[in-house]
Amino acid sequence: MEQLTMYIPTISLSLIITSYLVIELRNLRYSAYAYMLQAVLMCSLFVAFANQNPGLYYWAITAFITKVVVIPYLLLRYIRRTTNREFPPLIGYLGSILLISVIVIIFYRLTHQYGEFIAPTPAASEEPFRTNLAVSLTIFVMGLYCILVRRDAIKTVHGLLILENGVHLSLVSLSPLLKETAIIGIVTDVVIAVYLLLYVIFGVYQKFGSTDTFQLKGLRW
């Protein structure tokens, strides 16, 4: 376990890379696999932090069941029933990667530098929690970017999932002693939200013939 603690920075960086993959892969199925990989990395990060706080082993189990098994199953099921290809976004590969990179660098530097403003306890502003907090908030912003910029409805669900992973990850620094029941409550909400969103998106696909959110313009003003 001591060795795992050494890998915390590496896992954190890998989490940002997997967020890139989830956002940028145009094949929705591969994007779902990238999300699965991110979830596995998150579980390993929880285990690494569990060295200091054994309660996080339970967090890892909950995250594994919901984020590695249930959510990817739902995603892949609905991708199979709709379409594998993401509806082309307005910003191409290069532009999108550049844009996210700028956002990531600025946001990470800001949150890392001014960690004590967002750290509720002195321990949370110490390493490795400070880096974890900066990484989780950066992932949160990447998810928000995906939801705001992408026009494919299923891709926006991927964005929502990254955003939620950012929140989940931040809890390690913000409130590591949070009860397991609270974590189960939070992730249960996420699983149900994802299921209902995919269910509604499937209805959109049936009625509109695509998952392009730009077609959802009937209701304005």
């Binding site: 403003f117 929140v167 939200a193 959109v204």
Partner: protein, 496 residues
């Protein structure tokens, strides 16, 4: 051990599950179960409301569940409008099914979801756990997603997608806010006490680091504000209110957005005494909300969207009252919260009668309905006059309380804006009501056989109309409820 708290949300929740399991076989079973379940819930909520109005605080599982006068008031409103909405739905949903708007195989699921929706809102009003409060507020969204998209046509699906996505993303900000509040206060809570309890956090709210407290307020206002429909997080509201079946619109506008306000009261107001900058921020948000809401009312062709934007205006009034921060402001906010639940539900139910009879909701396609639907016309006018703030109707009394509170708190500018907004709201309602109920029947409607709605629909409308008038003439009848609820808020807030 006050087990009635458990009954309050378990009765509708189990009824909902039962309807999903058995309701498909018999439409009658689904309807009867929903009526009995919501009626029983209403009885339990009345018992709780009576107890809490006498100053009693109910609790369960070492205060994991805690119902004070404010929780009792919200629970009472939810259960009251719940039973009216369920009874109203009986003819309404049957007719929609006969029209082919709702597929027969999905008929029972309407009642199943509506009972789960009621259960989630009731649960939210009873929890004392800050993380569970977030979980349940999100659950109220999840329980209503399918109801918003229930017609499963293009517009309903668009509204359903936006509703689920915007509220889920928005409320995530509130999760950060809740976690920061919990984490910032937990080092100061004596060991042996549960740091997740809102009542414990409130006691040490002054010790939370300033940056964390202010950041959490911003996040909570954005998160729970999305749920409440505060501008600029309100964009889901007109779509969802307009596209949902009318009884659901009445519940969304009547009580669901109030649950968002309730969450703001529980989490943001506890920091008021320590950071004077918060209340002006809330006040400005409230004023902006009412201005945007009233301006948007004038652009609406669809009556349900007009009513939805009117809800944005009313949320603006309520948030303004909370932002004033004084006793009269918070009392006025709660008064308007109760009144708005009654009058807006009445407006939706009355206009639902028009949709029931004509199948249309566009103002330009309607007219002269007052002659063929006199009762519906009358109840709609009561709602319109109450919402427009005319004296002798309940809306006037609470708006007037807020105007007075604004002047008393030294924010006369807010009062002036609020008065102007109230006048514009009335103007928008006069224009819309006249076009729908006065004049001559348009050609497209004169060929149809239009009659008054059945008693299951007008019964609830008449009860709500009477309440709007009685509270308008005798506002003191609500005083014990509102006084205890306001006292509950102030007693939870620790003073520096």
């Amino acid at each position: 051990m006050n087990l009635e708290i458990l009954y309050l949300f378990l009765i509708p929740a189990l009824t909902g599950v039962l309807i999903f399991l058995v309701g498909k076989r018999s439409r009658l079973f689904a309807e009867r179960s929903a009526v009995i379940g919501s009626a029983l819930t209403f009885v339990v909520s009345c018992k709780i409301l009576i107890q809490t109005t006498q100053g009693e605080i109910l609790s369960l599982f070492r205060e994991e569940f805690r119902v004070d006068a404010l929780g009792g008031l919200i629970a009472g409103m939810v259960a009251f409008l719940g039973v009216i909405a369920v009874v109203y739905s009986l003819p309404y949903i049957r007719k929609e099914t006969e029209r082919g708007v709702i597929p027969r195989e999905r008929f029972h699921s309407y009642y199943g979801w509506i009972m789960l929706f009621l259960a989630s809102m009731l649960w939210a009003s009873t929890t004392n756990n800050i993380i569970l409060l977030w979980v349940i507020i999100e659950a109220t969204t999840l329980a209503s997603v399918i109801l918003v998209a229930f017609y499963w046509n293009r517009d309903a699906l668009e509204a359903g997608y936006k509703y689920a996505m915007l509220l889920t993303v928005g409320i995530t900000f509130a999760l950060f806010g809740c976690v920061l509040l919990y984490a910032g206060s937990s080092p100061h809570i004596p060991s042996g006490l549960d740091p997740l309890k809102i009542t414990e956090i409130a006691k040490v709210a002054g010790k939370i680091p300033k940056s964390i407290a202010l950041l959490s307020v911003v996040l909570l206002l954005a998160g729970f504000g999305t749920k409440a429909g505060i501008v600029p997080f309100h964009t889901w509201l007109p779509d969802a209110h307009a596209e949902a079946p009318t009884p659901v619109s009445a519940l969304l506008s009547g009580v669901m957005i109030k649950v968002g306000v309730y969450a703001i009261i529980r989490t943001v107001l506890i920091l008021y005494p320590f950071y004077p900058v918060i209340s002006p921020l809330v006040l400005i948000l409230g004023v902006i909300t009412m201005i945007v809401g009233v301006l948007m009312m004038f652009f609406q062709e669809d009556m349900k969207r007009l009513l939805a934007f009117c809800s944005v205006v009313s949320i603006g009034f309520i948030i303004m009252g909370l932002g004033l921060g004084n006793y009269l402001g918070i009392y006025g906010a709660l008064f308007h919260l109760v009144n708005h639940s009654l009058m807006k539900a009445l407006a939706f139910f009355s206009f639902g009668g028009v949709i029931y009879a004509t199948g249309s909701r566009r103002i330009s396609e309607l007219g002269g309905l007052g002659k063929v639907m006199p009762l519906t016309g009358l109840t709609f006018f009561v709602a319109a006059l109450a919402l427009g703030g005319i004296p002798l109707f309940n809306g006037f009394m609470s708006e007037f309380t807020l105007f007075l509170a604004g002047v008393k708190a030294g924010h006369a500018w807010a009062t002036v804006i609020a008065v102007l907004v109230a006048i514009l709201t009335l103007a928008a309602f006069i224009h819309a009501s006249y076009n729908v109920f006065m004049g001559a029947l348009p050609q497209n409607l004169s060929k149809k056989k239009i009659t008054e709605v059945p008693p299951a629909m007008w019964g609830g409308m008449v009860i709500l109309s009477l309440l709007c008038v009685v509270i308008g003439v005798f506002p003191q009848i609500l005083y014990p409820l509102l006084y205890e609820a306001t006292k509950a808020i102030f007693s939870m807030v620790a003073m520096p």
